[in-house]
């Protein structure tokens, strides 16, 4: 393997070309890392909205989106009455708009909802939630972008509400949302007696199977999923994940084509040199190995730089006030392994043709002409 010492020498000699290849891979890596980390972070955030102090989610079977799921008050009560259940909190999701802000997530919750208990109240208090009619409560970020203060009146979807309190939550989605007492939300969205999901906390975690069976036997139209199961099967998450990988891999294909182009150019411009190597005793395999190793080195450098760029971008985005709480960088080992694998694979695939071309150069032919 000593002959591979030529690789660093070659890369140094064709610095610009090598750097262009490195840049291609680096941008692919950075794009993939950023997209995947943001999407995974967002999904994680959404998961946590649902998973706050609960083990199971009960919702309508066969809905494509939780916003379309309906669970009746009677069903909520029945679930709550099951022997395995410690607490069950109905939750109604809706989208509201306010002048200048077309999409705001609205959460209809009961006053004893764990979310309210965990929040850090900036004004008002949990005890006031739902105490007076016509009151709305805001996440601190929502309060910020709506420019609203406690006690003021704001317009939400043609209706007017008085801001009853403002609280800060860890979760970006919640912090950028508005909260109504469940009954008020049902009325507002014309979904009287309905909620989207029920978040259930069991008395004992190991009673999951019995709980699930009990719910689904009683109400075949409902489904009870453990949080982990839900996250894996929820179509929206799957679409997001898929899109993120697809976009990332496209970014990579571009990087891979860049490497292919770089290597091909480098082989074409070195035909004579490769012939010289052959005359000096390099086998055609050694020549191919040189080309592959050059490509792999470019990919490795691109990976290192790409991860660096990606991390800088993510950290900067996290610190942009507007995004605060929305971007929660989650870099799972699977993502890192996936990115490294994709980078090396595209680079190596991009080097196949150049390597093949290089290994077929006939020294006598190539050296005949000046």
């Amino acid at each position: 393997m000593r002959f591979l010492r030529l690789v660093p020498t070659n890369l140094r000699r064709h610095r610009i070309r090598a750097l262009i290849g490195v840049a291609g891979i680096a941008f692919g890596v950075a794009a993939m890392l950023t997209i995947l980390a943001i999407v995974t972070g967002a999904i994680g955030m959404f998961e946590r909205i649902l998973a706050t102090d609960s083990h199971f989610l009960v919702f309508e079977r066969n809905v494509s989106d939780l916003f379309f799921s309906s669970v009746s008050t009677e069903q909520v009560a029945a679930v709550r009455a099951l022997p395995q259940v410690d607490t069950a909190h109905p939750l109604l999701f809706g989208i509201v708009s306010s002048p200048g802000h077309p999409i705001i997530t609205c959460f209809g919750v009961e006053p004893d909802d764990p979310r309210l208990a965990k929040a850090e109240w900036r004004s008002g208090s949990r005890a006031e939630f739902g105490a007076k009619p016509g009151e709305i409560f805001l996440g601190s970020r929502a309060a910020e972008f709506l420019g609203a203060q406690a006690g003021e009146e704001i317009e939400i979807g043609r209706a007017h509400f008085r801001v009853g309190g403002i609280f800060k939550t860890e979760n970006g989605f919640e912090d950028g949302g508005v909260f109504l007492p469940l009954a008020a939300a049902q009325e507002f969205f014309h979904r009287e007696g309905l909620s989207s999901v029920v978040a259930v906390k069991l008395r004992h975690r190991d009673q999951g199977g019995a709980f699930k069976a009990a719910v689904e036997a009683k109400y075949p139209g409902l489904i009870a999923l453990e949080n982990r199961e839900f996250n894996q099967s929820y179509t929206q998450f799957r679409i997001l994940h898929f899109t993120a990988w697809a976009v990332g891999i496209c970014a990579f294909l571009l990087g891979g084509l860049g490497v292919a182009n770089t290597m091909l150019l480098s082989v074409f411009s070195r035909i004579r040199e490769i012939a010289i190597l052959r005359v000096c005793g390099f086998s055609s395999r050694q020549v191919a190995a040189l080309i592959f190793t050059e490509a792999a080195s470019i990919a490795a450098a691109g990976l290192a730089i790409g991860f660096l760029i990606g991390l800088v971008v993510l950290v900067s985005l996290q610190n942009v006030p507007q995004f605060h709480g929305y971007i929660q960088v989650t870099i799972q080992p699977g993502i890192v392994v996936g990115i490294i694998g994709t980078a090396l694979l595209t680079a190596i695939a991009g080097a196949v043709y150049p390597a093949q071309y290089a290994s077929r150069i006939q020294p006598a032919e190539a050296l005949r002409y000046e």
Partner: protein, 238 residues
Amino acid sequence: MNDTSPTPGNGGAKLRKNDLVAWADEVWKSYDGGRIGVLQGASLEVRPGQMVALWGPSGSGKSTLLHLLGGLDVPDRGDLSVCGLDPRKEADRLMLRRKHLGFVFQLHNLIPDLTVEENLHVPALAVGRPRGESAERIRELTEKVGLGHRLGHRIQDLSGGERQRTAICRALMNSPGLILADEPTGSLDEKTGETVFALLRSLAEREGIAVVLATHERRFAEACNHILRVREGRLSEV
């Protein structure tokens, strides 16, 4: 075919084929699907340490014969042997280039933007020789050809004579049994050409390496042990 033969190049004496560094027997080679018949029954023998000149005008087929001996091309017909190996076989060819042969071309065929030292490491890299060992050999060879002070210089910054001296060192790197030199002085001025030729001859002599030298210049041919005239695709002793 006999084990011994009065092929040109053996100086008239009879020698067992196994003792020869290289031999060619009735070798034919044509290009363009037979339209350009270059070699038409060329035979030669090269003894260990011998310096044989292939002398003939441009286009007579000298390079073609060297390419066949060096396994850079294959003959249409005829037998060949170099250092006991068959240059027509792919496996033997690699072995030949790695261990038994050194090439010197008219154009130096060095890698221009590498240094003298880096160029000289190339044959050693191909066989995976440790760097220290080849560095030793590089020092020894470059000192002999007066390039010791130029090791770190790039080929593109050297004069024609220096380049050719580097090429000679490269051919000697793996201590071959035979050097194939194709007009090694062809692109040099008269005086430099003579110096380079003298260097090649003395180094080969000192290391006991045989040389087959293609040249169209009589004075270089005459300075070799044997002259083979290349004419009409055949070789004849002068």
